[in-house]
Amino acid sequence: MRNWLENEGLSIFVILVWLGINAFLFVYFYIAFLTDRFFYTRAILGDALPWARAPAACLNFNCMLILLPVCRNLLSFLRGSVQRCSRSAARQLDRNLTFHKLVAYMIALHTAIHILAHLFNFERFMGAQLDSNSTLPYVLSQVGNGDNRSFLNPIRTADTNPTYVMFTTIAGLTGVVITLALILMITSSMEVIRRSYYEVFWFTHHLFVIFFIGLVLHGVGRIVRGQTAESLSEHNPKECSQHYQTWGENSTVCPVPNFAGNPPMTWKWVVGPMFLYVCERLVRFIRSQQKVVITKVVMHPSRTLELQMRMKGFKMEVGQYIFLQCPSISQLEWHPFTLTSAPEEDHFSVHIRIVGDWTEGLYKECAGDKKGVQEAWKLPKVAVDGPFGTASEDVFRYEVVMLVGAGIGVTPFASILKSVWYKYVHENAKVFTKKIYFYWLCPETQAFEWFADLLQCLERQMAEKGSTDFLSYNIYLTRWKEKEAAHFTVHHEAENDPITGLKQKTLYGKPNWNSEFNSIGAKHKGSKVGVFLCGPPALAESLEKQCHSHSQSEVKFIFNKENF
């Protein structure tokens, strides 16, 4: 339990604070509309009025929050400063996308409540106009008929219908537009669409611009009206409401009440984050203008493309990622890729798996399908945003480290292992990490090739230095064909592994995590073991469970997960 708290505690705290603020705002603004000022408004609308205004306040709050987790340059900067104080606080910033989604769900929920309450409001306003002469709502609806300024009921005549009114008021029209934008954004953000057709998600999500413009304009019409302070001083609603038949007549005490609308409030909430987001896009744009040169293109088996690039002033740390843009393929698309080079190298590289439109386009642009030497000027112009930090930066802060990569998820660890090699070569670099356990789960043998070269290099270097103990790696082949199986069986006794050519043998099937954790825990009592995973969610769940269950008083397993 304590270890679950250590891993998840801060996240839970943040979520609880956020929910608490939502609840507080809801209740506070609900009560704010139960005052005398809105007595007559409630006489027509009942409690649908506060039910509409309370979620509106929560919407203001959440729309303010939603832009912040996606300002990745800002977050990267924050992460750098926070990291010096608290590692776990910095790790919270990795979960920015999760928070963005949570806030989005909350926006959807409050939008639903808001709209449903307003359906009642429109209906009741209409009903008030259609009422017979002798009811309070009807009399109230006639207030302001002369000058059209001090009215209460935004529906001014009985000769219309709510749908028409909605489309002819600023609040109604902007409401429909932004709700549509929200719905389109949500349907195109479903996991199925995002994973298969990223472009649809990315382009549709830019409807948020319309959403925010509409949101700010939504209250401009001042359609929610309450009695003015001046009118309240002369006309007390509680006393005068019974005598509504005789307001304003010479002999009575109660003059006709006057109403005015609330000024728009939303802009106060969202102007700050909108400004920050504009700065964020500006930073991305400026960074993208910096010249990036592709120095080498390597085509690996299993459709993996390696790009080596150089850019002036580019500084990275292990396991970071960048966003790549190729204007000749698409002006608007930026795609994230993990850096596979070490900070000590003179270039930076990414390994890209070719699965979709954009990566296919990049493959063709870099002439990956042609053999031989390509002219440097024929290579496409690319732009780079980043690098951005993720959990892998923390690897060297742990004494003992478990790195688990599944398939292409091994890429951040390529960077770490290369960096390890460089640090060892330059012995003056003091390395805090004493032992690395590396697990690579792979469904096909061809994917080994580019990584096997790296491991072979490391193996040789470590053998030369006599420190073969530092890195212990295990490669698991999770799927194989019958033909290959025969080959493996026959060459089982060979010195080098038949697939990778490494001295460390490839293992088959999936690792037995329980026994792995047990043995590592037994060997390293009294230390904190960092567990880093880049792979599918199912594996993340099982590893997280193992971390929780194996963390005892002597040894703690801290789980870090990378995801895009």
Partner: protein, 187 residues
């Protein structure tokens, strides 16, 4: 945008529209709004659309992510054959279904969302997409290889039991070579 299947997005949008139409309809009927009959229509249309759109089709490559519990509805929707397979018909159906929703406020949002879904389905139909059900694939019966024509009638010729027992000291002599080559299927 070569590989995008618009139908996938249209399906999400249509399902959302169905839910919105249903919710608006329920509010209209429960609140006894004016012209609540349109709201009642919204409930019926909303339920119908949700049932129609709940089973996700599979992608052109043959795989697809199922929604939980969609198998029964997949079978029902598949039973209508070309009516549900063709996206032109779906686009037309949604366009027709959305019209009565425009008459009262409760269902207007559902109406507009459904209209958008209809447009995306039209786009999918123009690009030649089709709704194909995700059904569990029957395991193909493994056919024996070419060299196995018929099961053998007699047991294979073998040396007597004494010789057949493998002796640890004479592995070479105990090795047995199959006279007929047996090839498994290449897959």
């Amino acid at each position: 945008m070569g590989k995008i299947e618009w139908a996938m997005w249209a399906n999400e949008q249509a399902l959302a529209s169905g839910l919105i139409l249903l919710t608006g309809g329920i509010v209209g009927v429960a609140g006894q709004f004016r012209n609540w009959q349109f709201a009642a229509y919204g409930i019926a249309a909303g339920i119908f659309i949700c049932l129609l759109e709940y089973p996700r089709g599979c992608k052109a490559k043959g795989n697809g992510v199922q929604r939980p519990g969609q198998y029964c509805l997949t079978v029902c929707v598949k039973a209508f054959g070309p009516l549900t397979r063709n996206y032109y018909i779906r686009a037309l159906l949604h366009a027709a279904l959305c019209v009565p929703g425009a008459f009262i406020l409760c269902t207007v949002l559902g109406c507009v969302c459904l209209a958008i879904a209809s447009i995306i389905y039209l786009l999918a139909a123009v690009r030649g997409e089709q709704w194909l059900p995700i059904l569990p694939r029957a395991e193909p019966r493994e056919k024996p290889g070419e060299s196995i024509k018929e099961p053998p009638q007699n047991p294979p010729p073998r040396p007597p039991a004494e010789m057949r027992r493998k002796r640890a000291e004479d592995m070479e002599g105990a090795a047995y070579t199959n006279p007929m080559p047996v090839m498994p299927n290449e897959y």
